[in-house]
């Protein structure tokens, strides 16, 4: 199989609190013949802060990154973060819909933006470019015995006119991947609800409220763990889980793992290689019970 070269935009968290997401994504992609080429000298997408206060700035930050991908001669860029994905794809959408906006931005960043790379979330690369059969063929250790709640959060599929990926109300791409790995996924109500991630540090009560609703729904559906495709969702539901448990007087003890970490387990990597020992709510007892670690 010839390797597939895709520009890779990690985003700030992947160099910080979510390093295990980056590492597991890199190892899993290499196994699948996807070569992730990091966007040279990329800058932050601006996250919620930039577009909340200064939309021009938010557009500029993402336009610079897209122009660098152009310069690298790659026609596709992927990111494992739902937030970065939303900002980057939104920018691409605005630039391609308004000539005036595009020309203004070209002047500002001093680079052409007429041709823009396609922006995909890493889940999309997996399901659309490799395909479920290819993903399943690489499995050496099926994830038998795991009952998982695939949690997509808010920005991965919304708004549909921009994200153009999966179903915005009942997404299934991650469920299909996890099932291809041999795991079982639950049907549940809060797949695409927001966890409050943007306010993780600044307004904890909102996170405890919204994150609590998500955890409660996953518990009621009988899930053993949540699986996410966004560092904000992971950090939020993992680090705030104790506060949520105290607020609701319910013991959840639900590990929150990245989908790439579980793919890696199915592909024969060790839990250490996948950084599964780094989560606050440890998924290791669950993996051991299922004979996977």
């Amino acid at each position: 199989m010839t390797p597939m070269d895709i520009a890779y935009y990690p985003g700030c968290s992947l160099h910080g609190i979510a390093r295990e997401y980056g590492r597991s994504a890199a190892l899993v992609c290499r196994r699948l013949g996807i070569r992730l080429v990091e966007v040279e000298d990329w800058n932050c997408c601006g996250a919620t802060a930039a577009h909340s206060l200064d939309r021009e700035l938010a557009l500029g930050l993402n336009a610079r990154n897209l122009s660098i991908v152009n310069r690298m001669n790659l026609d596709r860029v992927t990111t494992p973060c739902a937030g970065c994905f939303s900002r980057m794809k939104g920018c691409s959408h605005e630039l391609s819909n308004s000539k005036e906006m595009r020309e203004g931005m070209e002047k500002r960043i001093g680079a052409p933006l007429a041709k823009l790379p396609e922006v995909s979330h890493l889940l999309q690369v997996m399901t659309e470019s490799v395909g479920l059969k290819g993903l399943a063929d690489a499995v050496v250790r099926p994830l038998k015995g795991l009952r998982l709640a695939a949690y997509y959060g808010c920005l991965l599929t919304r708004p549909r006119a921009i994200a153009r990926f999966d179903d915005p109300e009942q997404p299934t791409s991650m469920d299909h991947i996890l099932r291809a790995m041999g795991a079982d996924t639950v049907r549940w109500s809060h797949k695409a609800e927001c966890c409050g991630g943007a306010f993780a540090a600044s307004q904890t009560d909102i996170v405890v409220d919204l994150g609590g609703q998500v955890l409660e729904a996953a518990r009621q559906a009988g899930a053993d763990a949540l699986v996410v495709a966004c560092p904000m969702c992971q950090v939020n539901l993992d680090t705030r889980q104790q506060a949520i448990e105290e607020a609701r007087s319910v013991r959840y003890n639900l590990p929150v793992t990245y989908f790439t970490q579980l793919m890696g387990m199915a592909y024969g990597f060790s839990s250490r290689q996948m950084g599964l020992d780094r989560m606050l709510i440890s998924p290791l007892p669950l993996l051991r019970r299922a004979g996977l670690d």
Binding site: G16, I17, D41, A49, A50, L53, Q203, R278, M279
Partner: protein, 191 residues
Amino acid sequence: MGPDFHTTIRLERLESPLKRELKDLFGIDVDTCLECGKCSGGCSNGHVFDYTPRKIVQLVKLGAEETLMKMDALWICLSCQLCLDRCPSGIDIPRILDYLRGKARMKRIPARRPAIGLFHELMIEQIRKTGRVSEVGLMLRFKAATGEYMKDAGIGVKLFLKGKLNPFSPSVKNVEEVRRLYDSASKRTKT
């Protein structure tokens, strides 16, 4: 005496400069609102908003810019895009709120949720300095500004022990390119 209580307000006949601005700048036409309420029904945080998304759209029609810039919902909207996604008319409410927040900021109207406003400001300031966000640096600055050092200290220790905190986040080499975006963005907003 104020206007007659019993007189019907005809929203389409009211003068709303805000309504026009949104239409001219972004092509957002609040007159296409069907008042179906799918936005408010689905809103992630609607249960704690002072004005729910449907009311926000009606306030735009009324031209109640002051109310909108001072409302609590302006700051606790999560930008989760659900209202826009479900709107049959495709009214971009998150974008209306971004616009109003930017406007409130230019007019120096204090954020109803100071912690959220401060966090956003510190974050874009850090991006201006280094081109990227370092979680450790941002959190320390946020703690220093709010004085709440002990809040979340326990989580910080746990994350540190798990090796999840990286104090050496790399910055953008060509950070001047990033800073230039700030200059032009603020110049443009002022004109």
